[in-house]
Symmetry: C3
Subunit: 340 residues, 3 copies
């Protein structure tokens, strides 16, 4: 873990973040760690009850806990309404980020009619296409490719090797991880006398303020009109977003999930890892989709939705799987039996 | 959406593409849009009956429709046997593509014994390895890496940050989107006394004419012999193709689908998003695999195939899932009951 | 397939790899091929019984077989306890690898305080960040981005366009394929009054000796502490490994599988393609997960585990799927019937 010279007393953290200090003493904190690994001088937290058993033996100097756990905390506690949120804010004090020097690296290739803010940082081997604009304080990391007619909003960061293909407009404070590809052609093909012809993809992509897009995630541009991420959408790694999809504000999607073309996802949704959402569907606000679920029709009521079968040992699973093929016939026999 | 100076009358489009003009007047068209968003001077289309309800209120000047819908079209119609195909051809008239200047960008690194056609365009920060050949009119976009012994056919385009690792031969008019990796080592390992040893991957990859390969898709090279895509194969984003797979002509695969090593897929197949096909299988021509289906055995009859369970609210799903584990025992009891 | 000037007699291969030569003659071998395609002068192998039918008609000069198949081999045989392992070793003799010239390519960008061994090779358009170290004989291919505070062990190879984001330490002889992203931010977010806040990702990634990481695979760095791959872990393409995951030595994962944050996978496990493992779980040693299975709880017994339903024609599947939704009600009726 990264160590910096940062040093804060527990009392100063309590005051800074509106937490209640519990216990004797006011230890100085110089870093953060897990309940199991934190050492003297470090702060930890308990947010997932799965780890509650580790509280009694922690060697952290301070633990951020909820009200219910404070009595079990053997060391100084900082009591928070939401310990995970409080920990996130504290941990940010101990984060060391690479320094980004404003200016254009001499190996970068910037089109003559691109516009780069003087406070922006353009890294080695980046290229920026015609008519694209890079906003104030933005960071374009090593090996990024920005195509034509793109906009990167102020204070956004493309970490490294990110591609914005064409007509991609990012809001402010957007963070995109390496390998992500935004604005590639949507998958539009039409069968014409035995051969595919390509349907032109004339739209773009709009990404709202404060979105985060994971490594190797792909977001295609619209066929007509734009693919849209509203503000504060959080996408993990290796997610696939088809053309003309719309994702509502504050929705979070876990790794390897996918949304097919022209589907519309609501606000404050949570999509589990590996889940798939078919095209042209609508999912309303505040829907939770569990991992590896396939959404095959629109969802109009908030709530949690699933598909799939439970984990089993393979021998038992084979028996259930074989019976699954007989389900209709079995059900007919039950129905027939009931009628007798 | 991108706007160009293109302008066509409805009658000229009808003549150019063999469509029937229906209705009064002959509006001039300067762009395209969806039924819901197109404005005066724009052309739209109706191909998916899901959007039929939008026809009556469209503000497009012209709509491409099928014969059945022409009576419901409130504006000038262009009547097509396949409205989606006709729209694709018309929309292409309004597409503005980046200009690719022939020649090698000064930041590119080209091996001394690579051969680059004078009409090819090699972008910034591209590298081309020993003995590779780039055909006439081909475009190697920014940040692409072409390894050794590769061939890029005439008029093919690697949009940006595409990697051809080694022994990859692309036909003509192949289009590859950013982040795709073609020709990496197949996943060949053998367990030898508790450690893995690597099985050399001595083959290559052959990609036929007119194929399209999506963003961040990976196609491994063969262990012995080649991995093969026949002509006009269309792969969406984040698809994984294992070593020695063969995919038949005109087959299309949706995002996040995968084919394991040495499987053979027929011609004119459609593979849904997130579907998986196990290794060493054969799938015949004209097979449709629905989304997130796992193909565990060869398919010898054309048709549509599926696996999985339907979408349910989580509470109901939990009950069904618990019963799935009991299926064999339930079936035995039905069978026993029938015998009584 | 790549042809080199290598030439070995069957007897010399038998001696070199401890195999038994069976049959008349001692043919000279200049290459390798499949049973179906190998020609005179080539060596093939039979390891997968699926291909046994091809043995009788092979035109290979020599075939590596197990003891049981030697009587059926129509040509000279090399008899091995494990034919696949023996073949892998022999095939390596015929592999031609690109030459990597030690030194730093003039287009590479190396931070002033990075350390590069003189025997390492840094390719075109690579960049290496502050305080990173590249070991002896290591190869950093074209377009790779190494961030800050990374270590690449001796004789490791990053083929091309690999990203090590920050605090990534690779052991010796690690092989990473193009597009892989190691050490990106883990997906740590906390909901705070309707907005997401980011949880700092302060840890790193440790990759043991002899690991292999596939194309476009992503491995996030730890939130606190490190994400860990022990030695000899083999990851195929497009795998997603969340923050703080630990994967035991000699475990192999097939393409498109995924492990969510803080899960711990044992040693000598095999994870099938597209399988998913939820976060904070433990999977013990020597577990096999079949393709596209979702692991929803910890596994404490070695063995094979599965979920999902079998492949069916779509019409039959629709009937079974509809009945799956009724399963609890059907089971209740069976139970009620039994009680009558």
């Amino acid at each position: 873990m990264n160590v910096t010279a940062a040093r804060y007393t527990a009392a100063s953290l309590a005051e800074r973040f509106g937490l209640r200090l519990h216990g004797d003493g006011d230890p100085a904190i110089t870093g953060v760690g897990t309940l199991a690994s934190a050492t003297a001088g470090q702060l930890s937290f308990l947010a997932n009850q799965r780890y509650r058993g580790q509280l009694a033996t922690t060697t952290a100097s301070v633990v951020v806990v909820g009200e219910d756990d404070v009595v079990h905390c053997p060391v100084t506690a900082l009591v928070a309404a939401d310990p995970y949120v409080a920990f996130a804010r504290i941990a940010a004090l101990f984060e060391s980020k690479p320094a980004h020097i404003p200016g254009i690296h001499p190996t970068a290739a910037v089109a003559g009619d691109a516009v780069v803010a003087t406070s922006a940082s353009i890294g080695p081997h980046a290229s920026i296409g015609a008519r694209s604009c890079i906003g104030a304080g933005a960071v374009i990391g090593p090996g990024c490719v920005i195509g034509e007619d793109c906009v990167v909003g102020a204070d956004s960061e493309l970490v490294a090797r990110v591609t914005l293909v064409t007509r991609v407009r990012l809001g402010q404070r957007v963070l995109i991880h390496p390998g992500a590809v935004i604005g590639a052609d949507g998958f539009g093909i039409a069968m014409d006398h035995g051969h595919w012809i390509k349907v032109p993809q004339l739209g773009g992509v709009r990404v709202g303020d404060d979105c985060e897009i994971g490594a190797n995630t792909t977001i295609d541009r619209g066929a007509l009109g734009d693919t849209v991420l509203e503000e504060d959408v959080r996408l993990d790694n290796q997610i696939q977003i088809g053309h003309n999809v719309r994702i509502g504000a504050h929705t979070a999607m876990a790794g390897c999930s996918a949304v097919a073309g022209s589907a519309s996802i609501g606000r404050h949704c949570l999509v589990g890892g590996g889940a798939g959402i078919l095209g042209h569907l609508e999912v309303c606000d505040r829907v939770v989709i569990t991992a590896m679920t396939l959404v095959t029709h629109s969802i109009r009521e908030p709530g949690e939705y699933s598909s799939g079968t439970p984990l089993m040992d393979n021998r038992s699973w084979r028996k259930s799987a074989a019976r699954f093929k007989q389900l209709d016939s079995l059900a007919r026999r039950i129905n027939a039996g009931d009628k007798e």
